[in-house]
Subunit: 202 residues, 2 copies
């Protein structure tokens, strides 16, 4: 399988991390969104929404949305629960990630450390991003009280989806020292023998 | 099962519609977010993220996130595919809905027809919401060329997730006459003999 991706995107790191945990080989194809490479006719033919990551299956079909790719790779493995409610809870946290977490924590990071410059209209939004991003981190901090993982005390794709941008939240100006449960959970995931960093090129 | 909900929220309409299609009875408990009822200690004990809809199972456990609730109700029914890639594609469109569609199309509707007044800071965002919301509608319009449903020519929870706010997009100032494939798809879903309108109180 091929992954169309940007190395320093948390959304693209999610499937790289899960694939490494599962021993699945992904061929990485870099797409530089800053150079408009996700908006070419060639790329839009693969993903009409023009976003990375996009997975190309061995039969030439495509799948978009980082968390849908996680689901595709995880079904039938230990990262997707056997229990019906636990499966729905994994998706609950993955939708939480895309709606209440990523739009503030990832976007703040993008404008601080990825984009070459931050226009005033975006600079003006940092207080809102920090307020809403900290609200999401507080929900996670409370949930992680007495827990090692988000769902049913097993490492699932809910943890991977939330790990991707949470562990880089300081890049966007968030202070993780206020969230001891989150820091313990991040450290716990990093003890997995097949864990890889975002920077690792596999 | 009980659904904590607002009647005129598209996210809350999603599980009501699916439950009616499946013949499942939901007890509806109204939560008025405009009166702060989703931020009380009592409600935050049910859903720490303070959002509707929230589903209460018969055993007293809770599930949040509209699309995770759709998944929970749909698994094992005709609204959740048997094919592995089709399942991931259903989730792809549901994540698209929450990330690329709802934050513009639902939010524009909220400030135009739900909130009692729209502050200047929100009024200033309408051009961005209309640009990004129309981008999402264009992706849907292209995908629906020659298709009756979003995935594998079957009515799935991807259709329900996207129907909820698309069919009310004009409330937020979107012009659906530009999207004939979307209008045909909306009309197709409305021919289901168990279809109910958002206003219907079941």
């Amino acid at each position: 399988m091929r992954l169309y991706q940007m190395q320093d995107s948390g959304n693209c790191y999610k499937p790289r991390l899960l694939a490494h945990l599962l021993g699945i080989n992904l061929e990485l194809i870099d797409v530089d969104i800053l150079k408009g490479e996700s908006r070419t006719a060639d790329f839009l033919a693969k993903n009409p929404n023009g976003r990375t990551p996009t997975l190309e299956l061995d039969d030439g079909r495509y799948l978009a949305e980082s968390n849908a790719i996680l689901f595709y790779l995880a079904e039938g493995t230990q990262f997707w629960p056997d229990d019906r409610l636990a499966r729905a809870q994994v998706l609950q946290w993955m939708f939480f990630e895309q709606y209440s977490h990523e739009p503030y924590i990832a976007v703040a990071r993008f404008w601080k450390v990825i984009a070459p410059e931050c226009p005033p209209a975006m600079t003006a939004r940092f207080p809102e991003w920090h307020q809403k991003g900290n609200a999401a981190l507080s929900v996670m901090e409370t949930h992680l009280t007495g827990r090692h993982y988000f769902v049913d005390e097993h490492y699932t794709i809910a943890d991977i989806a939330l790990y991707a941008y949470t562990h880089k939240a300081t890049d966007g100006g968030f202070d993780l020292t206020k969230y001891p449960n989150i820091r313990h959970w991040l450290a716990k995931l990093e003890t997995h023998p097949q864990h890889i960093k975002m920077e690792t090129r596999v």
